[in-house]
Structure formats: C-alpha cells, structure tokens
Symmetry: C2
Subunit: 354 residues, 2 copies
C-alpha cells in the first residue's frame, strides 16, 4: 500500500486502506460517526465499507442526491440540521463516501459546523481519488458559480480503495482521467509519456499513486493557493467557465469533461503566446482527442464563456490571468490572456469538430 | 495609540487608528471595497469613517438590519450575492463596521467567499471592541443555536476608535463591560480591582487596552480553541444557554447580559466545587450585581437550560464540562459539572431576586 504524507494528514492507497480506517477509528474514538453518501455509493460502496470496518455499522447515514446540484447551500443546511438533531459534537466524525460532490460538500459542512469537526475522505470515483481527495479545498456552488463558497480544511485522512473504480461507468473513468492528464501536462513529461501509451480506461494503481504524489507535492508547497498551486488551474479557467455555462443546460458536462475542453483551448493559448510549439500543441490535442473524446461544444459562444470567466476565482477585476503550459510537463501561472486570444482558442476548438 | 500584535494581524486602538486604516488601504490597494454595516452604524459611524478615510468613499455599502437575527444563513446568502453581483474578487476587501453581529457575520462571509477574501474589523460597540475583534472566530446562528456555524479566520487588522462608544446607550455599554469583567476574573486580579473601583459606564481607554491585551495573550497561545482558550468560556456555557432560551422570547437578552448571569451561576458552581471561597463568591456576585445589574430570570427553568446546554460547542456527548474559576484572576477548563450542581446554581441565582 502507498502512503503519501500531505500537509497534516496521509493518503492511504491500496487494498489495505480499510485497515487504516479501522486504525483511525480505534485510535480517535469519535463520539459519534456520520457517513455522507449519495444513492449510488449508498448501494455500491457503503456495504463494502461497513463489512470491512464494522466500527462504522452504528454510524448515522446522511444520503444526498447524486449530482452537482447537491453542492448547494440548501443541502448544506440539511446536513447541518441532521448533525444538530443527532447531537454531533466537536469529537464527532464525518466520513465522506463518494465522488467529488460528496467530498467537496461534506468537507465544507464539516469545516463550518461548530467551527470545524474532524472528517475523513473515502473517494469512490477516480476524479475524487486523484483530485478532490488531496488539497484540503472544500466548496459548494452558489448562484450557478462553481465552488464560489468554500474553505481550506484538511481531512484527518484520505483512504483510497481502487476496487471501488470497478463499478464506475466509462464516462466517470474519463472524468477522473482528465485530472491525471492535467497533472502530467503541468508537472511530469514522464507520466505524460506513460499516459500516451495507455490503451485502457482502467488506470493502473501506480499511475493513480503517481498523480496524487505530484499534486500533493505542489499543494504542500502552497497550501493556500497563493502562487505555485495555480499551475493546477491549467485547463480550469476555461474548464470552469464551460462547466458553469453547461450547468444551465439540459446536457451538463462532468467536471473532467469540461476540463478536457479547457486543456485543449488553453494549450492553444500557450501556443499563441509561443510557450508551446506547434508539434506539442498537436500532440496534446491529438492524445486528448483520441483517449478522452471531448464533447463537441458547437453551441458554445464566446460571450457566455467570457461572462462566466469573469467570475473565476483566479481572475481579478476582469483581467484574465491563466495558468499556461511552458512545454509538456511544465506550467506557469498568472499569465495575461486577452479576449481576442480566447476567441481564437474557441475557434480552434470548434474547428476540431468541423 | 496602542498597537497590540495578534496572531497574524494587529489591533490599533486610539484616535489615530483612522491613520492606520488609511495606511492599510494605500499599501494593499484592494481591487474593490465593501462596507458592511447596520442601520445604526450606517447613520452614526459611516460618515465619520469616510470623512477620516476618503479612500473608502467609493466603497459599496452592504446594509443589514441591526440585531442577532441577522446572523443567519439567509443574510449570509444575501451578502454573498451582493459580493458576486458587484464582481468582488480575491483582492476585494470587506470592512466590517459595527458591533458583534456585523463583525461575526461579516468575518464569516468573508472567510467563505472564494475560500476567503481579506477583511478588516472596525468595531463600534464596546462588546465588539473587547471581544469579537480579537480571536479570529467568525460565526452565525442556525436553528436557534448561537455561533453553531463558523470558521477561524483572522482579519487583516482591527481598528478601534473609542470615540464611537460615545453614542452607545448604557445597555450597550454594560453589554461590553460583561466581557471586560470576565477577562479580569479569568486572568487578572489587578484588573478586577480596578473594575471594582469603576463608578462610570464610560470605560477608560487603558482598561479597554488591558482587556484586549489579556484576551490576545490567551488567543495567541491557543488560536484554534483546543485547550487554554477555553478559559474565555467562563460564564459562557450557561450564558449561551440562557441566550438561546431567551432568543425565542419577546425579551431576548444581549450577549453580555446573558454572560453576566452565566458568570454569577458559574461562580456558584466553582464555590460548590470548593474552587472559590464564600467571600470570593460574594464579592463577585455583589460587584456584578451592583455595577452591571443582571436581569431577573425568574421565568427560566432548569430543563430548558439543560436542553440548550446540550448544544454548547464545548460540551461533548451530553457530558457537561465548564471553565470554572480557581480564585479571582485564575480559571480552569474542562471541569465536570453535574446536572444537580447546575440546578443549585440556578436556585442561587433566583434567590438573589427573591
């Protein structure tokens, strides 16, 4: 089993991660335990977890509806209400058993209830394993803006059982792979090489470990997202904007699906600014296109994207500043981007589907 | 002017605190400024502030209704909405101009918007000056429970103009004095002696400075309220319970008014446990009674108080643990208290009004 040490907690990855959960429970003796899950993890993951960790059998289950719409202030209020009604105190534990929504929302609620109670993360989707589980960011959406409300609050531990991935549909696997590809592009040319040779959506455990380790290294250097950590935002400025726009439609995109589009467009921005060569841009576009099959966004217009971009947390006073690649495996941040350049990147993306 | 250094910020106290605000604004150049106030501070304090700090003339004003009922999730949502609609970004500044409600609520909203934007506190009530302004605790009420939701988030600075106190009604002055008396009882026999000789509600500036310094020393030793800081909770376990119970009535108590009752009852608990002598208990009760005139709570019953106590953040799994005096100027914490002892303390309090 891999154990990756983060700021104040560890990420346990592998078959024996259940043992680590049991150890945590025996050592910390929480006064009560709550498990947050959605209807999918309630059915597919909770029984496995409780069988392996019988100490959790008495836990109060809080079930939310699967999907981004649950990352709201209303659902947060319901969770706080449940905690209060069941007498949760400062030594109670919240176990977040689910994908990115459960883990962002659960961590947000735990970090604010009584000014913070302990929580642990048991990610069940690839996206949550490689992304939401590391970094101590919590968040909910508000007024159709992604993660606009949130805190920095580290979990007491992250416990990753790769077996949970077996039940995931392909769309969910690609959703998580997007963040793995991103980690490679911003930090590791060698991981990128490995990924290019991947001919399956069943990602090997060492690649998960590598991706988490890469992210963890960046997060530890800049826990509060003040400088270096912004490289993790590659693909996300445009990605978040696309996600926000599509959240309002009948065909919302998953986070990773939006990031994949964002990575292609932001690579084009890097090429426009001579940070990437033409062959590097082609290699990125082609690899992502073949392996992750991004969505055709022909209904996406520049104006709505710019509107949504104006609310990105990384932008200040309507100046656009992105994190752009400086070659493969290297990324800068706070790079100025003009509206004109964003338009060209959008046209480039549209052309791929022409 | 007194400048008291706290964890990551300073408290500026005195006539030239306005100068310090100007210096802060010139140095930090926030991308936009929002001032949170209530109808009272809008009328009485905002014009004075803007005259002294012309850089704030362009600020967006967010007005809330005065009173504890504004410390809610609904009002927080309105504040976040205003920030979003006015394009507040990570370099925007929130100025909290008001008493405890404005400062707890504003700090809460700032700490969660985009995972935290800078805020400064300009307390206008004595309570906010000596209590809410130091300690980095933010909070709102939820389901009739005081400060049940909150974060730890330091301001960028606290700027105290004692002149604001001149407009306060006597009830508000006593509200703040309660926390000054508490600081003396838990930390400083010499301040307690000074307070006993006080024959005015117009508290001298050096006493404000002394009280803040005492609190600050404790907070710096235990910023996240894990051990020592719990001494600040003296009078507050019962005080919060009383406050919660009376919040539902037509005659709610101010925070300090509830704490004053709590201090008398908890001093009685300390006497029951032989931590205080009879003469010390008498001295405390008599001083508080004469100088702060606590409210007759003859309509308060044990059962409702215990119910509310069960939700106090400091209690775990319905065991009562209080911070009790160990003489005058010294306080312990995590001391077990029985229901029977609480009942006796309540009877003692009732008897004072017989």
């Amino acid at each position: 089993m891999a154990i990756i040490s983060s700021t104040s907690y560890s990420v346990h990855l592998g078959k024996s991660a259940f043992t680590a959960v049991n150890q945590y429970l025996r050592k910390q003796k929480p006064s009560s335990v709550f498990i947050l899950c959605d209807e999918n993890t309630l059915q597919d993951c909770l029984p496995i977890l409780i069988r392996a960790c019988p100490l959790l059998a008495e836990a109060e289950i809080i079930e939310i509806e699967a999907g981004e719409q649950s990352k709201s202030l209303d659902i947060s209020a319901l969770i706080w209400q449940t905690l209060i009604e069941n007498g949760a105190d400062r030594h109670s534990l919240l176990v977040n058993l689910g994908g990115g929504v459960v883990s962002d929302l659960g961590a947000f609620c735990a970090s604010i209830y009584k000014r913070g109670i302990p929580y642990i993360t048991i990610p069940t989707s690839l996206l949550a394993m490689v992304d939401a589980s590391v970094g101590s960011k919590t968040g909910i959406d508000f007024m159709e803006l992604k993660n606009i409300l949130g805190t920095f609050a580290p979990p007491k531990g992250v416990f990753i059982f790769p077996d949970f991935l077996q039940t995931l549909p392909d769309r969910e696997k690609k959703n998580g792979l997007a963040e793995v590809y991103k980690m490679a592009l911003v930090q590791s040319a060698s991981l990128w090489k490995q990924l290019r040779q991947l001919n399956t959506l069943n990602i090997p455990e060492p690649i998960i470990a590598k991706s988490i380790t890469l992210k963890n290294t960046v997060v530890k250097k800049d826990p509060f997202d003040q400088h270096l950590r912004q490289i993790l935002n590659f693909g996300h400025s445009i990605g978040h904007a696309i996600e926000s726009v599509y959240l309002r439609t009948q065909q919302p995109l998953l986070h990773g699906e939006a990031v994949v589009c964002g990575m292609i467009m932001e690579s084009h921005l890097a090429w426009q600014q001579k940070r990437l060569s033409k062959s590097q841009l082609d290699e990125i576009t082609q690899t992502i296109f073949t392996q992750l099959q991004p969505r055709d966004l022909s209904a996406l217009y520049l104006k709505e994207m710019l509107m949504a971009l104006g609310h990105d947390k990384k932008n200040t006073a309507r100046q656009f500043r992105f994190s752009l690649l400086e070659g493969i495996g290297k990324c800068g941040y706070q790079q100025k981007v003009s509206e004109k350049q964003i338009e060209k990147a959008l046209v480039y993306y549209h052309t791929l589907f022409a």
